[in-house]
């Protein structure tokens, strides 16, 4: 199974240019495996032919999207992309809390787009409980949306297996989960109460139009499923519903600059963050 470095780099650059997603060099095996899978399905023997096809003979981007679907990891679990959550918790959240407390506006609104089975919004709930001083004096609201009704049903139930909680710090696991039966972990009601789940199709022009004043938008590893134009429309939607000074978080390998330049870029603790 061959993927000469030159072609890996070509493919990587193509993906970055079109989607803003970067594949680091140590992902070469990961990419190679899925690339070959897709090539076989699409009937290509040689990598150079496949890449040429993507660049020149795929004007609607359909084959490209098939490749991207294969490349993107669909798993979700609690505290995914931990270091980014750390930057959120220790810097961005603190900054917003400080400003709002000073203005005597003790509300916090977070949008979690593409929430799937709920691990992400509940993770955010835990972080907020842990990281906001005098938490009880705050009104916290997390809106979690997804286009798939089935996952929302599971999300509302809030019961997970070992795989989903593998990265939960032990003290949080104790504090915020119960174990209804062996190998099952149910999220505590206090966290559940912070989250409202809603069925929303982001492609719908009118979706989220009347939402506003959000402090944070999380849209991690979701935009990859959209085409170029739709992606931009969705991000503009998010910009519109954020407060000034609010942050948007994409997946750590996704960069916003290919999508929009309306946000301000900042560097915080070795991470890039985007602020309205």
């Amino acid at each position: 199974m061959e993927l000469p470095l030159e072609y890996f780099i070509k493919l990587r650059n193509l993906i970055y240019e079109r989607t803003g997603i970067s594949y680091e060099e140590n992902k070469i095996y990961y990419v190679k495996k899925r690339l070959h899978q897709r090539m076989e399905m699409a009937g290509f023997d040689r990598v150079e032919d496949y890449i040429r096809h993507l660049k020149i003979f795929d004007p609607q981007g359909r084959e490209f999207q098939q490749l991207m679907n294969l490349l993107t990891v669909n798993e979700t679990y609690f505290f995914r992309e931990f270091s980014q959550l750390q930057v959120f918790a220790e810097y961005c959240l603190q900054e917003v809390i400080k400003h709002k407390a000073e203005a005597n506006n003790r509300t916090l609104k977070i949008l979690c787009a593409g929430c799937s089975t709920g691990e992400e919004p509940y993770t955010l709930g835990i972080i907020l409980r842990e990281m906001i001083e005098h938490f009880s004096s705050w009104e916290v609201f997390i809106k979690a949306i997804d286009i798939d009704e089935n996952v929302l049903v599971a999300a509302r139930k809030g019961v997970y297996d070992q795989r989903s909680v593998k990265d939960v710090p032990p003290s949080y696991l104790q504090r915020y989960f119960t174990s209804p039966s062996k190998g099952e972990y149910a999220i505590e009601q206090t966290i559940k109460d912070m989250v409202v789940f809603e069925h929303v199709n982001l492609m719908d022009r009118r979706a989220l139009r009347y939402e506003e004043d959000y402090d944070f938008v999380f849209c991690r590893n979701v935009l990859i499923y959209f085409d170029d134009v739709s992606r931009k429309q969705v991000v503009d939607k998010f910009y519109g519903l954020l407060r000034g000074g609010g942050y948007i978080f994409l997946g750590h390998a996704e960069s916003l600059s290919r999508i929009s330049s309306a946000f301000k870029i900042r560097r915080l603790s070795n991470h890039i963050v985007y602020q309205r």
Binding site: L5, E6, E25, N26, I28, I56, D236, G240, S260, A262
Partner: protein, 354 residues
């Protein structure tokens, strides 16, 4: 639904969001004269957010009307508006092609350049022919752009012209661009031209060395190995990526069982330098294709390397090399390692050796 007057008023509201929604509604509710209204607003609009929304909305429209109305944006003083024009037109498909043909004859070199950029994005059947018209452009930068794009399009119909440009131009950047394009569209004549231009390594200027290596990577053969090895002596560290690609390309097209000793020395040497891990990964896999005894030792050694990626290269190389004496080592690694991808590679190599 708001009336047209209300929408236009909202388009000039003090609030960004109101303006953005108005723009969306004007397009999607098909307000007559909507395109002009939005274009006018684009000129005045100061918010990047609203500007982006307007452009995204205009992108959703297709047809002659939008093409005709957007073309004037290419002449704007405002870079954002010019770029918006290019982006919108690039999505218009075949309809835009005819208009671009006309723009290629514009007296303004910048407009001609934009037409080239749009044609390149359009990727319609006859766009290569149009891009090739710019091979006669009087502005050297447009000429270079045309050559670059023809290389990317991989259309060999224009190879003779590019060969000619390569041989007769005294502009280094153009020669380099030709070389890199010919790496994709070159023919036997191209190889002859390149050999004529660079009989030995001293003839290749520093800048052209890189482009030369790129050409050789895809079109070169054993006769170029000598030149490459001379380059290594001089520039081995700086140009290692291009050199490794060139060697890899030549080897791929000319299969053999053993690596010539000087090549083996070169590749082994690179493994000891501080080139990036991924280059070493690549080298180990490349070496695994050849049967030289020394290679087996090198691969074994690297199964102990600190870096996962390099261990992975060694494992894949061992699988390719085919000496099943490596099995116990791979089995031992299987017990020890915990990286998912590495374990998979180990499994595969074990399979190959059994």
């Amino acid at each position: 639904m708001a009336s047209i007057d209300e929408l236009i008023q909202d388009l000039h509201s003090e609030d960004e969001k109101t303006r953005a929604f108005a723009a969306e509604d004007i397009v999607f509710d098909k307000v007559p004269g909507g395109i002009e209204i939005l274009i006018d607003r684009l000129e005045l609009e100061e918010s990047r957010f609203v500007r982006e929304v307007i452009v995204n909305c205009l992108k959703a429209l297709k047809g002659r009307e939008i093409v005709e109305k957007i073309i004037p944006l290419l002449s704007s003083e405002d870079a954002f508006i010019r770029n918006a024009g290019i982006e919108i037109l690039s999505m218009q498909g075949v309809i835009a092609t005819e208009f671009m043909r006309k723009l290629l004859g514009d007296t303004d070199k910048d407009i001609r350049k934009f037409a080239l950029d749009i044609l390149f994005q359009l990727k319609s059947p006859n766009t290569t022919a149009l891009i090739a018209e710019a091979l006669n452009d009087l502005d050297i930068n447009n000429l270079i752009t045309a050559v670059e794009y023809l290389g990317h399009m991989e259309d060999t119909s224009y190879t003779p012209k590019v060969n000619e440009l390569f041989m007769r131009s005294d502009n280094i950047l153009l020669r380099c661009t030709c070389l890199e394009a010919l790496a994709f569209i070159g023919d036997e004549e191209s190889i002859r031209c390149v050999n004529k231009m660079y009989p030995n390594y001293e003839n290749i200027s520093i800048l052209e060395q890189y482009s030369f290596l790129k050409f050789v990577a895809r079109k070169g053969s054993d006769i170029h190995l000598g030149l490459i090895i001379s380059l290594i002596a001089d520039k081995g560290q700086v140009m290692h990526k291009e050199i490794i690609n060139a060697i890899e390309g030549i080897l791929k097209r000319n299969p053999r069982k053993l690596l010539p000793p000087d090549l083996l020395n070169t590749l082994s040497y690179y493994l000891t330098t501080d080139i990036t891990d991924i280059n070493k990964y690549e080298l180990l896999i490349l070496m695994g294709h050849y049967q030289n005894q020394e290679i087996y030792q090198i691969l074994l050694e690297h199964t102990n390397n600190k870096q996962t990626l390099i261990r992975m290269g060694a494992v894949e190389g061992l699988g390719l090399y085919g000496n099943n004496e490596a099995l116990p080592i791979l089995q031992a690694m299987k017990e020890k390692e915990d990286d998912r991808d590495l374990l998979e590679t180990i499994e595969k190599s074990i399979e190959l050796l059994q």
